[in-house]
Symmetry: C2
């Protein structure tokens, strides 16, 4: 089954909203064995929507349109699709009542414009929206020996996700059997893309028509995606297994996880397995390390907490950094990074402490310590040390790369302990 | 000038990478008066790339292809485009030398696979890449009374951005005069989409063919986008001005900024103007409030720092929360939120303190305090208080909404002070 995604909304084309829906749907459909062949973003424009819908129906078995189903004037998807199929819209009293009930529960009165959301084009089945007002819409077209499915879903990500899981997936599974596409993703940190490729070496014994490898670099890590496509699930799984084992051996300590794993979750598992707690002292990362660590559910078992010490006063009073160290070496220094890591361990009562201190930019750089200079500190029962990094000029990127470096340093230290 | 964006890479279709490039390019081109009419994501597949390129060239004046220019096997864009135009590829010695030099500067030897990146299709002009290896490529096609521009750019966001600003923009400006499209965006927090629409009321006196309004809700805020399209820049600006003034009056205190502004930057400006400093005590947000506050460059002038107090011990030792308050009311309570806000002010020596304590989920909820229960505390010289919130079941969303609620509470308190 081949699918086309049409994401609708001027905001996507002028860049006010990043199209996370297409990525999310792509991943989900792929897992079901549905191959997404195109994802098109287009504006709130009748002609464009009609043109793309026609093309998508000609080239794919499943067309999912997201966005433009809300109550406001710029939401035209429902009307345009009804027009395309030449069917009238009927007000669905059950949906209308559900919407009224949603407003009542929150103690609010439904504004009249919300009634539009209860309009259903003839021949479409409404898909219940458990977390919002606008229902999804589902239509199966048969004719010319082909079956084509058209689905409309609201563009609000949590509504899209709820409707997808609860309404769309069961209906797709009821359709004819789906082809097998398997993916695995290996996640690495602390190594650049071309060095990683060199380390991996030649894979011609492994790769072929059914098996592909792609490397996906981002600012602070490289992911390797293994894809197997075919019909024999068991054979594909065995081939993936063999390739993954080979890659794991080659990549060694740079590999921190697979799939949707995160560096912070990998670190968290290591801490939890060893019964260790962690505390973080952040200067240049300003809370990002702690934010990432606490994104993992269950992190309260090993994250004691931390201190964001932007001022030197806080570095001294809350972390016990010595005034002399600050005066002699400056806040961005090996000594201060070590004292911060040690201090946060001691003051907050944790087994492991990590710290960041650097010049995030864009201002604050000096010839000796330019923007991007970052020290990462580490402390545990065995001792403490700090690692030097020189990143780039961009503030957000420097925060991200420093946080990743701190999390990865802790991961490797604990792995070796 | 109409543009089509083709973003290339299997990772986009299977959802491993979110397409931020299309959003970014859309915004940039729009600012130049170039209208993006479609943005298509497609796989690393020769037939698909050729087909989309043909269609894009027929429908638009500018086609930008991003992705697939790297050194690895799955990078095929350069070769496919050369094949489409029927031109050979030549190794460019200057580009090759630049790449070698990049590797030398980092003390590394260039892997042989990187040579591919120096191949230039005949008739294409290389666009220097100041931050990476692969150059962009530029071609102007004339024929049939039309001029069409084809541009290839690497998919790595920082390389794309650098090449766009330094090489593509000047070349686009050299092309024929561009049509006027003006945007303004008004940013609101603390009010839902339909309540905001009711508050704004009827706009038929303002809106028309040249002037449009779109409302863009996200988890924790609603943005209003005003768009004016036409030829007379002065008249469009005056119309936008008039509409914006009307909206500002209607929206009142819910409006926190315009354009690319952020709530944290708006709060930061207020603090800086009044010479106030802020400290944050975070439990359920786990560092996110501090991370957001310190994303703004120059935030060290008003952010003293903060404490992430995940454990009760840290709430007591680092923030002075009373053991009795924790025992009697629990960590998620009005009393503890107030003591945290007051305590972080006092311990870190700030003028304003904000705090968060809640059940982020997915576990840890009780019938009395279900997942999503969050108290936001506020303290300044005038006193302290806490605000109750009940958000949803999703951990990441609860962190985001709690952080926004805390930042917005501080913004409104300081605005009124």
């Amino acid at each position: 089954m081949k699918a086309t995604l049409l994401t609708i909304g001027d905001e996507l084309l002028i860049g006010q909203v990043v199209n996370t829906n297409a990525a999310w749907l792509g991943e989900q459909l792929n897992g079901l064995g549905v191959e997404v062949v195109r994802a098109v973003s287009l504006g709130d424009d009748e002609t464009a929507i009609r043109h793309e819908l026609e093309q998508a129906l000609a080239a794919s078995d499943l067309v999912i349109l997201t966005g433009g189903l809300g109550p406001t004037r710029d939401d035209i998807t429902r009307e345009v699709v009804a027009g395309y199929f030449g069917v009238p819209l009927h007000l669905d009293p059950q949906i209308l009542e559900n919407i009224r009930e949603r407003f009542r529960r929150r103690g609010r009165v439904m504004a009249a414009i919300n009634e539009r959301v209860a309009l259903v084009p003839e021949g479409f089945e409404p898909l219940a929206n458990p977390v919002g007002s606008a229902p999804g819409l589902w239509r199966v077209e048969e004719g010319g020996g082909r079956k084509r499915i058209v689905v409309l879903v609201p563009g609000v990500p949590r509504e899209l996700k709820a409707i997808y899981h609860e309404e769309i997936v069961p209906r797709l599974r009821d359709q004819e059997s789906l082809r097998v596409i398997l993916h695995r993703t290996l996640l690495t940190a602390g190594i650049g893309e071309s060095n990683l490729q060199e380390r991996i070496g030649d894979l011609s014994d492994y790769l072929g028509l059914e098996l592909r490898l792609a490397s996906l670099p981002s600012a602070d890590s490289v992911r390797l995606r293994l894809t197997a496509t075919g019909t024999d699930r068991a054979a594909l799984e065995a081939a993936l297994e063999r390739l993954e084992a080979h890659l794991r051996e080659r990549i060694g300590p740079y590999l921190y996880g697979t799939g949707d794993d995160t560096l912070e979750a990998a670190l968290g598992r290591m801490l939890a397995e060893r019964g260790l707690t962690i505390a973080v002292a952040e200067s240049c990362t300003g809370g990002l390390v702690l934010h990432r660590l606490t994104n993992t559910s269950g992190s309260s078992a090993y994250v004691v907490g931390g201190v964001v010490a932007y001022s030197n006063d806080v570095k001294m009073s809350a972390l016990g950094v010595e005034e002399e160290a600050l005066a002699q070496h400056g806040a961005v220094s090996e000594v201060v990074a070590r004292q911060m890591a040690r201090g946060v361990c001691k003051h907050l009562g944790a087994d492991v402490g990590i710290s960041t201190t650097g010049v995030a930019g864009p201002t604050g750089g000096t010839p000796e310590k330019p923007v991007g200079t970052v020290w990462i500190g580490y402390a545990d029962a065995r001792g403490d040390f700090a690692q030097f990094n020189r990143f780039g000029k961009d503030r957000a990127m420097n925060k991200t790369r420093s946080a990743t470096a701190a999390l990865d340093l802790a991961r490797r230290q604990i792995m070796e302990s």
